[in-house]
């Protein structure tokens, strides 16, 4: 194995290096220099993100245990980029007295989950897949419980770790069945040997549901809202974008490689799950009064939409999913950015507190409005194209009824997204959130998100590139 080969793993290697550097730097930055330390950490993540933009080669490492290519690189780029934005948005939270000391640990844990996701997406072997999954989950539970004076936070951590452990037990059972059938844990070998017997279907169901848990598809979603609400806001946005995204990506890869020959079997499963996920997510979202919980259910519904692209097992379907994730990242993080800014400034997280927000903070509420429109899929904001391509992907397979139900649900979602806009712009409050100035990193992140929402919709190159990248999943590797 040469150096250039090991370089295929640059994303993970750089992240590991970053973690180590932060670990050491944490000791050397004094208590009064936390802000510098924060910027330093952001800088490291920035380097990792930028390094991902260099053209990626495809290749196999460690006898096929690690596989990478432009598609995987792109997925990781999306995750890195989201992480960067989330970190930019979290200074407000970090700067609180009892968090300041622990920025280092927070960063380390967050980045190690990112390493886990990287390995998971690049896995070519069930062991790597499982390890990546666990590495992407266990530290998250600790992060959910990070705010240790808040019993809600601990509750969130407990719900996450117990259910995650349970679901990973289920995934493992599924893997063991697949192993029993194929005798190999390499995706490539397993994909060729899988036979469609009932046992393999059971294995498929178990692995799929285990991943559905991470993506928070109904009925495996119940943890999501509670954990989102209780966690520190930075982690909530991380869970709803990065963690969910990574699970979607690996689901795409596993379904289209290992279970590619069983696609007639997983189609109806996803079909039904899409319907209940979108519907239940929407119905729950309507009634929420806590903004984090609201966004949790909205992101559950969005996860259902994402599956519309997964059901189309072709390069086009994969591309629609990746594209939607990119758009979803911008929109959701814009919303979370605003929520996070408010939460850090005033500690308010109830939708009712947002009354009259436009009067006091017009710019932030405009960002929020744009984000809501994008999530609702109103053209010409990028969210529309994301959804539209997903619909096209499902329609291409002839699932009109499904598309119809999904589109109907966008109407319901429009209703509750407008509800937020109405609260901010129209409703009056005696004690509106006073005007405040966002800190610089937050401003940068919001500008990036807004530009992203507008530009990704209009630049067709992004989507074309994704289609091109997705082809490789179906052509040269398998």
């Amino acid at each position: 194995m040469s150096f250039s080969e090991i370089f295929l793993m640059r994303n993970e290697l750089l992240l590991v290096t970053a973690v180590l550097v932060i670990l050491i730097a944490d000791l050397s930055f004094d208590a009064d220099k936390r802000k510098q330390f924060y910027y330093f950490s952001i800088f490291l993540v920035f380097i990792v993100t930028v390094s991902g933009l260099f053209p990626a080669k495809s290749g196999l490492l460690f006898g096929g245990m690690y596989q990478t290519g432009p598609l995987q690189a792109m997925m990781k780029n999306i995750l890195n980029f989201s992480t960067l934005i989330i970190l930019l948005q979290s200074w407000g939270w970090f700067s609180h007295v009892n968090q300041q000391k622990r920025i280092g640990e927070f960063m380390i844990l967050l980045l190690s989950t990112l390493i886990g996701m990287g390995y998971m997406i690049s896995s070519g072997h069930f062991l790597m897949f499982y390890l990546g999954l666990e590495l992407a989950t266990i530290p998250l539970a600790a992060l959910a419980a990070y705010d240790y004076y808040n019993s809600k936070s601990a509750e969130a951590g407990i719900k996450l770790i117990l259910l995650a452990a349970f679901s990973s037990g289920i995934i493992l059972f599924g893997i063991s069945l697949i192993y029993a059938i194929t005798g190999t844990m390499y995706f490539e070998g397993a994909g060729q040997l899988i036979d469609g017997s009932t046992l393999s279907v059971l294995g498929l169901v178990l692995i799929f549901t285990g991943l559905s848990f991470k993506i928070s598809l109904v009925p495996f979603h119940l943890w999501a809202a509670d954990v989102y609400e209780g966690s520190p806001i930075a982690l909530t946005s991380y869970l709803s974008v990065v963690s969910k995204g990574s699970a979607v990506f690996i689901l795409l890869i596993v379904l289209n490689t290992v279970f590619a020959s069983l696609n007639d079997i997983w189609d109806p499963l996803i079909y039904i799950i899409i319907i209940i996920t979108i519907t239940v997510g929407n119905l729950f979202a309507i009634r929420q009064r806590n903004i984090k919980r609201f966004l949790a259910f909205s992101s559950i519904a969005q996860a259902g939409f994402i599956m519309l692209g997964v059901i189309n097992n072709s390069a086009f379907g994969v591309a629609t999913v990746v594209y939607f994730m990119l758009v979803y990242m911008f929109s959701n993080l814009a919303a979370f950015g605003v929520v996070s800014a408010i939460s850090a400034e005033t500690g308010k997280e109830s939708i009712d507190d947002y009354k009259g927000f436009y009067g006091t903070n017009p710019k932030l509420s405009l960002v929020m409005m744009l984000a809501m429109f994008s999530l609702a899929g109103i053209p010409p904001i990028a969210g529309f194209f994301g959804k539209f391509f997903l619909f096209t992907a499902a329609a291409e397979k002839g699932y009109y009824i499904l598309v119809l139900i999904a589109v109907l649900n966008t109407i319901i979602s429009l209703y509750y997204y407008l509800l937020i806009i109405k609260t901010m712009f129209i409703e009056k409050s005696d004690t509106p959130i006073p005007f405040f100035k966002s800190n610089l990193p937050m401003k940068i992140s919001l500008v990036i998100c807004v530009l992203g929402m507008v530009i990704t919709g209009f630049t067709s190159g992004v989507f074309d590139y994704m289609v091109e990248m997705s082809d490789q999943l179906f052509s040269d590797m398998y």
């Binding site: 119940l222 499963l269 391509f389 119809l404 589109v407 407008l418």
Partner: protein, 637 residues
């Protein structure tokens, strides 16, 4: 053919105005914002007229062909399926350009007076530019996706405009309702698009509507519930059109949308957005006519039904803007019906031509009516007719222009509405006698309720007004310009310009239809006069001015009584009131009920989220079990 490259500026200018004023909002003086918007739409208007003249009159060849003035590939979904962005120049899009830019320019100018002193003055003009851009993009679209994108953008900007008075809860509710109802209808449109693209592998209009193209010459897709897949797709596309054009049962948003500023109603709810649905059907007309005639029958039925339905409701309304709103719904029903009964090519396509003709003339007189209503509201500060009366003394300019528009919509020659309505009735007569009868009746009803409005507002009892005065010149000049259009638009030889297949044909005047239709219009006017002019001291003078027909009825008093009996007791109490009740409680109620049920349902199922980990794990496991059992019994390998 000619070069139409410059038409791209028609799109760019309003958009640039929107961006410029939007980004620099707060930094510009409001009047400057307005000036930029007016400048942009003004130049666009000039360019549109130039394009129309070039296309219709400098055209050397015998027929009109569609020209793609600009096009570039935007998204490439597969090798064949691409999304383009471009500009399609053909007779209907050029006609729409003229309509939109004219009305929009008038509304822009009018608004400088009407909105003076409003807090959101600059914001208003910014969104007005956005709306104009969206509407122009919609009519110029070369393909289904482009039209859909602009379609939704139109919805979005109208949402922003209807909700302009965002401090007013009713305005916000109306904006939301308009947005959601039309979005709901659009889901049909979207699925229709997806189905069409799935079967044809293209989004492009030029390929889809090619009479020799595969979509029309070959049968594609299966049969579902007795109709072909294509027919279903086209019905779904029409559903989107029905939403925007406020066809039954999606019409419920339009009356509520009157909460927006009145010039907006003139622009959006009279001349542009609401005719988008008619435009869409016209755009796809080749497919409807040649490959999905069943869908066309649906359109004709819904159009006819809506026109009657809305006309009956309009009779009972007391809010002048609501009357105009229902009248708009009714008139658009006319256009839809005309499309629905139309055939393809030559004189058989009279319905199509008539529909476009009526769209054209209606845009002028309905915009004029709305702007006139705006002028009245501006003066009286109320929408209710009970606060108005004898206004002709106070608002002379508004009065004359309003009368012209009222005569036009009632179909009195030589005003423009007469000519277009005549063609529609002729087309209906040639195709379906029942629809003809309905539309004939509606023509009478229209004359009745419009003159009811006219008499109540401009004649009738004098009320106490606070410092009432005629609107400023910035408002009356657009009124005069539109009145001019209303007077002369009817003389355009439309059958030479806009036809189904681009080949002009000669149409003759249908005396046998025109005379009775004028007759019923006059009858409607007389009933209205008999009922509503009485409060006026100068009733004798109207009687004289309205001619001999009226005096005959006047002398025979019992006839008058019969009229009153028929109108008040039968039409009013027995027909209109139940229809209104049905509209408010059943149609609207159903929509509200759907919303409420959704919310109630969301309360019901909240127990699933009990916060208990055990229950979460249980649901998790049950989910897996159900999935597994499903496979065990449905997919036994």
């Amino acid at each position: 053919m000619g070069n139409y490259q410059y038409t791209i500026w028609i799109l760019i200018l309003p958009f640039a105005a929107f961006l410029f004023t939007g980004i620099l909002s707060g930094k510009l003086k409001p009047s400057f914002t307005a000036a930029i918007s007016i400048g942009a739409i003004g130049i666009a208007t000039v360019l549109s007229y130039f394009a129309a003249i070039q296309y219709f009159f400098l055209n050397a060849s015998e027929s009109y062909t569609a020209i793609e003035a600009a096009s570039f590939t935007w998204y490439r979904l597969s090798d064949t399926l691409v999304i383009d962005m471009g500009i399609l120049i053909d007779s209907i899009s050029v006609m729409m350009l003229v309509v939109i830019t004219t009305v929009s320019l008038m509304v822009h100018i009018y608004s400088t007076g009407y909105m003076k002193g409003d807090d959101g003055y600059a914001r208003y003009f910014t969104f007005l530019s956005l709306f104009s851009f969206a509407m122009l993009g919609l009519v110029l679209a070369t393909n289904l996706i482009q039209i859909y994108v602009f379609w939704e953008l139109v919805g979005l900007s109208s949402y922003l405009l209807i909700g302009h008075y965002y401090q007013k809860p009713s305005a916000v509710a109306a904006a939301k309702k308009a947005f959601i109802v039309t979005r709901f209808a659009d889901l049909g449109f979207l699925i229709g698009i997806l189905m069409l693209s799935y079967y044809t592998g293209t989004f492009s209009f030029s390929e889809i509507t090619d009479p020799n193209g595969p979509l029309i010459t070959q049968t594609i897709g299966g049969v579902f519930l007795g109709l072909s897949t294509l027919t279903w797709a086209m019905i779904l596309v029409f559903m989107g059109g029905a939403g925007k054009s406020a066809m039954f049962p999606f019409h419920i948003w339009l009356p509520d949308a009157m909460e927006g500023p009145t010039p907006i109603s003139a622009l959006i709810h009279a001349a542009t957005m609401v005719v988008a649905g008619v435009f869409l059907v016209a755009r796809m007309f080749t497919v409807y006519s040649l490959a999905a005639p069943e869908a066309l029958e649906v359109i004709a039925f819904i159009g006819a039904f809506t026109s009657l339905f809305a006309a009956l409701i309009a009779i009972t309304q007391t809010d002048i803007k609501k009357i105009l709103a229902y009248s708009t719904i009714s008139q658009i029903g006319y256009m839809m019906m005309a499309l629905g009964v139309s055939g393809y090519s030559g004189e058989a396509g009279l319905g199509f031509t008539a529909s476009m003709f009526h769209l054209f003339t209606h845009a002028f007189f309905k915009a004029l009516l709305f702007l006139g209503a705006g002028s009245i509201i501006h003066a009286v500060h109320s929408n209710e007719m009970k606060d108005m009366g004898n206004l002709r003394k106070h608002l002379p300019a508004t009065h004359i222009t309003f009368l012209i528009a009222t005569l036009a919509i009632s179909g009195i020659p030589p005003f423009s509405g007469f000519f277009s309505k005549d063609e529609i009735l002729a087309a209906a007569y040639a195709s379906n006698k029942l629809y003809f009868a309905v539309e004939y009746l509606v023509a009478g009803l229209t004359a009745f309720y419009m003159f009811r409005l006219y008499f109540k507002v401009f004649w009738g009892k004098e009320r106490t007004y606070e410092n009432i005065q005629e609107s400023p010149a910035s408002m009356t000049i657009p009124l005069w310009i539109l009145a001019f259009g209303t007077l002369f638009a009817g003389f355009l030889p439309f059958s030479h310009l806009v036809t189904t297949d681009g080949i002009p044909f000669d149409t003759h005047f249908h005396w046998n239809i025109a005379l009775p239709s004028v007759g019923i219009a006059l009858a409607g006017i007389f009933i209205a006069a008999a009922l509503y002019k009485k409060e006026s001291a100068r009733s004798q003078k109207i009687a004289a001015s309205l001619g001999a027909f009226y005096s005959v009825t006047k002398e025979k008093f019992y006839v008058d009584e019969i009229y009153i009996f028929i109108t008040k007791k039968i039409i009013f109490n027995l027909i209109s009131m139940p229809v209104v009740w049905f509209d408010r409680h059943i149609v609207d109620g159903f929509m509200n009920l759907t919303g409420n049920t959704t919310v109630a349902l969301s309360f019901r199922i909240r127990k699933f989220q009990s916060g208990n980990i055990h229950q979460y794990a249980l649901v998790f496991l049950t989910g897996i079990l159900i999935a597994t059992l499903f496979y065990l019994f449905y997919y036994p390998n």
